[in-house]
Amino acid sequence: MSSSSKTRHSIVPPVVHTGPKPPVHFTSSISIADSAILIGTGLITIHSESVIHPRAKLDSTLGRVSVGRRCIIHERATLGAVPTPPPPSMPIVRGGEGMSVALGDYVIVEVGATVEGGETVIAEGTLIGVGARVGAGAKIGRHCTLTPMSEIAAGEMLPDFTVVYSNGLRRTDNRGMTELKNKGITRQIDVLRRMIKSNPQKFA
């Protein structure tokens, strides 16, 4: 790397932006990476102190996308993905005025997780693990944990404090450490805000 670092300044390939640039509503304290991908037509709202990693994708094609306070959206996560195949019960309205995805406060969406659009609600303190998939219209309760690669069917309701693990097994989280967990997230955000070069102007 040493001899050629001058000529190969950056290896990050440009992000391909296809589709319309969505209207956004940011508060001043968020961190959003330069290479995050925001597309669609609905309003994208990100509340205070949330962090959006590089290459995270927020897609408001199916309606508004709202991210709560102190959320962390990791790289390659997708919010508001168009369901494939579309659920038969729910007609897909592109560019609708409805809510596509609503995230509560302290929600973490980890690497490569997908949250499909269509009035999907993820309540406060929930962790969506690596590569997990939440179907369209699902309602995830407060402080749930979806372990990596777990799947939630479209329209499913998950009660508060549910842990989904090992290919769909469920149990209830009785540890009662939500306060501690939120404190940990706050500390993590403090560090991430210093590490991720934020560029909210790019999306405005």
């Binding site: 790289e75 390659r76 690497v111």
Partner: protein, 198 residues
């Protein structure tokens, strides 16, 4: 620097023999160490920007702090769409990321997400595997496709691991150790790939 324009290949080949795809996403390249002869395929992602924020007590010699976030040995192979990111945890009242170390001859399958603390040498990680934060994988380990290795798991040498969550399901037989070598695989990719030996 030559002014002649050379045809742009799919890969950037460095002096130390690394083959890095132009379409790979390497964030924070200054904190990524490649040992040489490592292949990084398109759409692979390495988060070198997540460096540790709390330094370990500095050695007495006063050496400069080591900022490496991801270090990779020789003859590693990072397949399409995989993602390497350093693990993070609270430490002394604050949050910090810790370096991710990888030995030699490590194969990372397509779509795998690695957040391990360390991975030994001669490790085969299958497709769509998730390695949890601070997992430690020793030498000669085979992780089968789709396994989810829970955080902090330590996998001993010569194990075969599979499942969600992952468990040790067997041992690597003595005659199979050759199959962990990645030298031949290294030659089959790049700007002038060679056909695999029969």
């Amino acid at each position: 620097m030559s002014s002649r324009r050379v045809p742009r290949g799919e890969y950037i080949e460095t002096d130390t023999g690394n083959k890095v795809a132009r379409k790979a996403t390497l964030v924070g390249t200054q904190n990524i160490m490649l040992g040489g002869k490592t292949v990084i395929q398109p759409e692979a992602m390495i988060r070198g920007d997540l460096v540790r924020t709390i330094q370990a007590p500095a050695p007495a010699s006063g050496a400069p702090p080591n900022n490496t976030a991801v270090s990779i040995g020789r003859y590693c192979f990072l397949s399409k769409g995989c993602c390497l990111r350093p693990p993070g945890r609270p430490y002394k009242g604050a949050f910090t990321y810790m370096p991710l170390r990888m030995g030699d001859h490590v194969y990372v399958g397509p779509g795998a997400v690695i957040q391990a603390a360390s991975i030994g040498s001669h490790v085969h990680i299958g497709a769509k595997v998730v390695v949890g934060e601070f997992a430690i994988i020793k030498d000669y380990v085979r992780v089968l496709d789709g396994a989810v290795i829970p955080p902090n798991m330590v996998i001993p040498s010569f194990s075969i691991v599979a499942g969600q969550p992952a468990r040790v399901i067997g041992e690597v037989p003595e005659g199979m150790l050759e199959s962990f070598e990645l030298r031949d695989l290294y030659k089959t990719v790049g700007n002038n790939p060679q056909p695999p030996p029969v």
